[in-house]
């Protein structure tokens, strides 16, 4: 036993050395910012002629948050944006994946075309949509007028509720390809004999989808929802390029608000507090979904 313990201990020690570089990098790029932001959120930071001054501020930044009308609105809008965005992305991505998995859609051409939106850089994508939505020259207004669906130009990004939804559409367009590819991989992992068995059991196309495809995609769906929720909650580039939060702060979401408070209003502690709320939201989501990822437990164990 003695020797085996020694052996295990030395293996363990060696393991520490092997993992150390990765752990150190992770501590620098993940743990440090998280802790620093947490500390900042309890401070009042002033930019003065004599440099930065830090003063203990207690939980005031947080109590301010929840009494602040704009924060509450931004929180509500972020939740709305995330829920609708994730639902739309999952639905569209699943449809696209099903089409790509169909014998007629197997050509690599479609997969390459699919990837274009995803391959665009985020800001290029946002600029593209800015032109599409442009009230005077944008292709969207031109097309709709050409089709006779509308009579005069619509100011897509100038109307509060509409602007938020237009940003949502642009974000969905950008997000669908990656999720669709995830789902395509998931679909290809479902063995074809299960469909054969289902056909022999008398399942029609819809029943095959419900009883074979969806259960087989469960893990992929959960992963997609987790990733997409996190990406939707932290949306920033589209808002920055398209509206900068206007009109009348109607497109201010949490991440953008945090950025604006920190770098525009220079209220670093308050901005950090918002960022931490966002962090906690995403962290809870991740926990919920990881729980859901666990395989189904059987009701009974006997025999």
């Amino acid at each position: 036993m003695q020797t085996s313990n020694n052996y295990n201990r030395s293996r363990y020690r060696l393991g520490i050395w092997f993992t150390a570089p990765a752990v150190i990098v992770l501590l620098i790029v993940l743990a440090y910012p998280i802790i620093a932001s947490l500390v900042l959120s309890f401070l009042k930071v002033r930019f003065g002629g004599d440099g930065l001054t830090f003063a203990w501020h207690g939980v005031t930044n947080y109590t301010d948050l929840f009494t602040n009308q704009l924060f509450r609105e931004a929180l509500f809008r972020s939740v709305y944006f995330t829920v609708v965005e994730v639902a739309a992305v999952i639905f569209l991505a699943l449809s696209v994946a099903l089409m790509l998995n169909h014998p007629l859609g197997r050509s690599a051409f479609y997969r390459v075309v699919l990837l274009v939106p995803w391959a665009l850089s985020p800001v290029a994508n946002a600029v593209l949509w800015k032109w599409i939505y442009n009230a005077n020259y944008g292709i969207l207004n031109q097309s709709l007028i050409g089709l006779g669906l509308i009579k005069e130009n619509i100011i897509w990004l100038g109307t509060p509720w509409l602007a938020l939804n237009m940003i949502l559409i642009a974000d969905v367009w950008k997000a669908v390809p990656f999720i669709a590819l995830l789902m395509l991989a998931g679909l290809q992992n479902i063995p074809s004999y299960l469909y054969k068995a289902a056909r022999l059991d008398g399942a029609n196309a819809w029943q095959q989808f419900v009883h074979v495809t969806l259960p087989g995609l469960k893990t992929t769906l959960v992963i997609s929802v987790v990733l997409q929720s996190i990406w939707a909650l932290k949306v920033f580039d589209l808002i920055y390029v398209l509206t900068k939060g206007s009109p009348a702060d109607s497109t201010v979401l949490l991440n953008y608000l945090s950025w604006r408070e920190t770098f525009s209003n220079l209220d670093v502690g308050y901005g950090a507090a918002i960022a931490n709320v966002l962090f906690i939201l995403m962290f809870m989501l991740a926990l919920v979904y990881i729980r859901a990822l666990r395989p189904r437990q059987t009701a009974q164990r006997d025999g």
Partner: protein, 351 residues
């Protein structure tokens, strides 16, 4: 219960011909095996019967009715797959009852039937388990249960034993045969294992490159193989085949002449002969040969001997104490000889 007729079935995948002109009639309650190596078209034939694959041309009739246009379910056939194809997220109970659930049968009816099937297959203890919590043999029984509960007119088995280990394979083989004896449902069984085919079937259809080579009882394909191909494929150990020639009073294989009755007609074409191990005896009479290989298999020992220009395997009862390189007397029973046309490879009936 039903009859199954395959009439002039062809199947092409692009340019590749998988099945070419197969005709087969399976009687009510019969157990028929489609036997052949991989690529012979046996699984394609089964899939076409199931309705999972379209036929390129030809007709499939179940109980006399053409079913070419019907889907798998309407054909009233049930299939047991090689890899079981159990729904991984459903319990054993849900897997077996799935087809009834799809047909919206009342809960109590489903439970009753599942219970009945489960007790027949000794699965009652596992009803609430998921497939991955079962052993291979148990999964196999669930797959069979899923087929049985539908009370189909034909059972289709697609190499159902190939994922099981040897011991379990034998056990399951017995279970399937018992099941067939009890239910008497017409069954089509696909395998590449000739021993499985011999032990299970009422009749065996031997396939070669998409064509039906022979369709007969196990007895027929074993002792009267239609061709060299069937002769080599069926039986353990493999039949010994010789490319010798007829000579006055017998058949010459290298330095050895096997005496044949004078009355035997010879053929106009060159003839090969085949002999099974049970017709080769070792002992006091016959010609001298050198022992090359001794393979005990329990009840028998297979002894391979060489002589100048030939080699054959003999079946010796029990454990043999013969050693390689020893010389022994070999006798070949002329009654066991099978004759094949060297060019067409078909068996010749020389009386």
């Amino acid at each position: 219960m039903a009859t199954l007729e395959l009439i002039n079935i062809h199947k092409k995948f692009g340019d590749f011909v998988a099945v070419e002109g197969v005709n087969l009639r399976v009687e009510e309650g019969e157990f028929v095996t489609l036997l052949g190596p991989s690529g012979c078209g046996k699984s394609t034939l089964l899939n076409m019967t199931a309705g999972l694959e379209d036929v390129t041309s030809g007709e499939i009739r179940i109980n006399g009715k053409v079913v070419n246009q019907l889907g798998p379910f309407e054909r009233d056939v049930a299939m047991v797959f090689q890899n079981y194809a159990l729904y991984p997220h459903m319990t054993v109970e849900e897997n077996i009852g799935f087809s009834l659930q799809l047909r919206k049968r009342p809960r109590t009816e489903i439970q009753d039937k599942v219970q009945k099937v489960a007790s027949m297959l000794e699965l009652e203890k596992f009803l609430h388990r998921l497939p991955r919590e079962l052993s291979g043999g148990q999964q196999q029984r669930v797959a069979i249960g899923r087929a049985v509960i539908r009370e189909p007119s034909i059972f289709l088995f697609d190499e159902p034993f190939s994922n099981l280990d040897a011991a379990l394979r034998l056990k399951t083989r017995g279970e399937i045969k018992e099941l067939h004896q009890r239910l008497g449902v017409t069954s089509i069984f696909v395998t590449h294992d000739q021993e499985e085919a011999l032990s299970l079937s009422d009749r065996i259809a031997v396939l070669r490159l998409g064509r039906l080579e022979q369709f007969g009882t196990p007895e027929e394909v074993y002792s009267k193989p239609a061709s060299k191909y069937v002769a080599k494929f069926i039986g353990t150990p493999q039949m010994d085949l010789f490319a010798g020639e007829f000579v006055e009073g017998g058949y010459q294989i290298g330095s050895v002449k096997i005496a044949l009755p004078r009355s035997l007609k010879t053929a106009n074409t060159p003839v090969d002969v085949g002999i099974r191990a049970e017709f080769v005896t070792l002992g006091d009479t016959g010609f001298d040969a050198a022992i090359r290989l001794v393979q005990p298999v329990g009840p028998f020992t297979y002894v391979t001997v060489d002589w100048d220009g030939g080699s054959a395997t003999a079946r010796v009862n029990g454990v043999s104490h013969l050693k390689p390189k020893e010389t022994i007397k070999v006798d070949i029973n002329p009654n066991g000889l099978l004759f094949f046309d060297r060019n067409s490879e078909k068996r010749l009936d020389l009386v």
